[in-house]
């Protein structure tokens, strides 16, 4: 059914890592998180839980922002660029289906969001 899905996903992962903003964009949220954590993390401990604000409040906000940015802006931008550049049209003349292309891009976005989240959580361990 989804012929070429894994190959396209793998290809898009490689292409994404070649983008100047690829690796940087994945790690930037972690950096921001660490910097903010360092600035405000220690002073503001939640009174009842004892968990640093950086972890209990900032991380969830960051997480939702991150997913939002990936889904709403990055994914849409990629599809728009692909459409404008005629890449989608060229792919339409091949046996690959539009759903396959979309699935591949969603998978890539999810994957890199997950990588960022995992890195953020690792970074947050120090506030435990």
């Amino acid at each position: 059914m989804m012929r070429g899905l894994w190959r396209l996903t793998w290809l898009e992962i490689k292409i994404f890592l070649r983008e100047p903003l690829g690796v940087f964009g994945t790690l930037l949220p972690v950096l921001i998180f660490v910097v903010f954590g360092r600035l405000f993390g220690r002073q503001m401990r939640g009174a009842s839980t004892g968990i640093p604000r950086a972890l209990s409040v900032d991380l969830p906000i960051f997480t939702s922002l991150l997913i939002g940015v990936s889904a709403v802006s990055s994914l849409v931008a990629i599809i728009a660029i692909y459409r404008e550049g005629g890449i989608l049209k060229r792919l339409r003349a091949t046996p690959i289906g539009p759903l396959t292309i979309l699935t591949a891009h969603v998978t890539v976005k999810l994957l890199f969001t997950a990588v960022t989240l995992a890195a953020m959580m690792l970074a947050g361990r120090r506030y435990r």
Binding site: G4, L11, K14, I15, G85, I87, K89, R90, A93, P95
Partner: protein, 312 residues
């Protein structure tokens, strides 16, 4: 419509009075033609004449409003899946991902088809071996087009579509691409291309259909079209003999003589014109400094049939 009387085996493409409108604008109107197996067929006309729309209807990328299209005996829209395995497509001004490598693109495309050709060999045949690890965005115009040809050939198609293949290329790259297209025909495939370059059509195509404002003006072999619509021939003689002009005008095949400095441009009907001019020169001992003949080209045919030049 006049079709040159060739052997009419089952055509690879059959287009019967198709029409396509975008809102109020009629892009293609009552267009009909056949593409025969093993030929290079060209749809020629200026930008905006309806070439790409017609081709994309045949490729199954667009649906026409009226008329019928059959490609390899199948309906291009309803049998899109089955046809995709058997046709190769190069689109006008298409792009790939900026940072995809040549080799990655070819092997990805190969993975989409049931019986692909060897990608590495294809890369080599198209002269991209040095560029196989280069990103798409770093390729020159000619290299990009060669990559698109490779992608169009990867499934070993019976019919190849090439839309404005050499637009924007320098003359040298253009010639290299022409050789590649001839090579495709030599592999026994049928080529259907569009171009707004009359020279390209004349050198490459076995038959052409001239399209203007969405309508087919005429179809035939380039040389046949020239003979049919521009039967005149021109002889240009440079001479300092003052009597030459009158003597030429007296010849039976000559229609007009015009002069510019020492250069006399003699226009007339094909056939005996050259012989008559040469005989006249010899008979009256007219000293010719230079002598050349000019034949009309497809460009002249286009001008005559449509009343305007192809480049506006």
């Amino acid at each position: 419509m006049l079709l040159t009387g060739m052997t009419m085996s089952q055509p690879v493409v059959r287009v019967a009075s198709i029409r396509k409108t975008y809102g109020a604008a009629v892009a293609v109107d009552d267009v009909s033609f056949d593409v025969q197996p093993g030929e290079i067929f060209g749809l020629i006309g200026p930008n905006g004449a309806g070439k790409t729309t017609t081709m994309e209807c045949v490729e199954g990328l667009r649906t026409c409003d009226r008329g019928a299209i059959s490609v390899l005996g199948l309906d291009p829209v309803r049998s899109a899946r089955a046809l995709q395995e058997r046709i190769g497509v190069q689109l006008q001004e298409a792009q790939l991902q900026k940072r995809i490598k040549v080799r990655e693109a070819v092997s990805f495309w190969a993975s989409l088809y049931r019986k692909p050709l060897n990608g590495d060999r294809l890369i080599e045949q198209l002269g991209l071996i040095d560029k196989r690890n280069a990103w798409f965005m770093t390729l020159s115009g000619g290299q990009k087009q060669r990559l698109f040809i490779a992608l169009a050939l990867i499934n070993d198609p019976e019919l190849v579509f090439l839309d404005e293949l050499t637009t924007g290329l320098d003359p040298q790259a253009r010639r290299a691409i022409w050789d590649l297209v001839r090579g495709i025909r030599q592999r026994g495939k049928t080529v259907f291309l569009t171009t707004h370059l009359m020279e390209e059509a004349e050198r490459l195509c076995d038959r052409v259909a001239i399209i203007d404002h969405g309508r087919i003006v005429d179809i035939g072999a380039p040389s046949a079209l020239v003979q049919r619509h521009c039967p005149e021939q021109t002889v240009i003689v440079t001479t300092d003999d003052a009597s030459a002009r009158e003597r030429f005008q007296a010849l039976s095949n000559v229609q007009s003589v015009s002069s510019q400095g020492l250069e006399l441009t003699v226009r007339g009907t094909r056939g005996d014109l050259v012989t008559q001019v040469i005989q006249c020169l010899a008979e009256h001992r007219i000293r010719a400094i230079d002598f050349r003949t000019e034949l009309p080209t497809l460009e002249d045919v286009f001008l005559k049939l449509t009343g305007h030049a192809i480049r506006n």
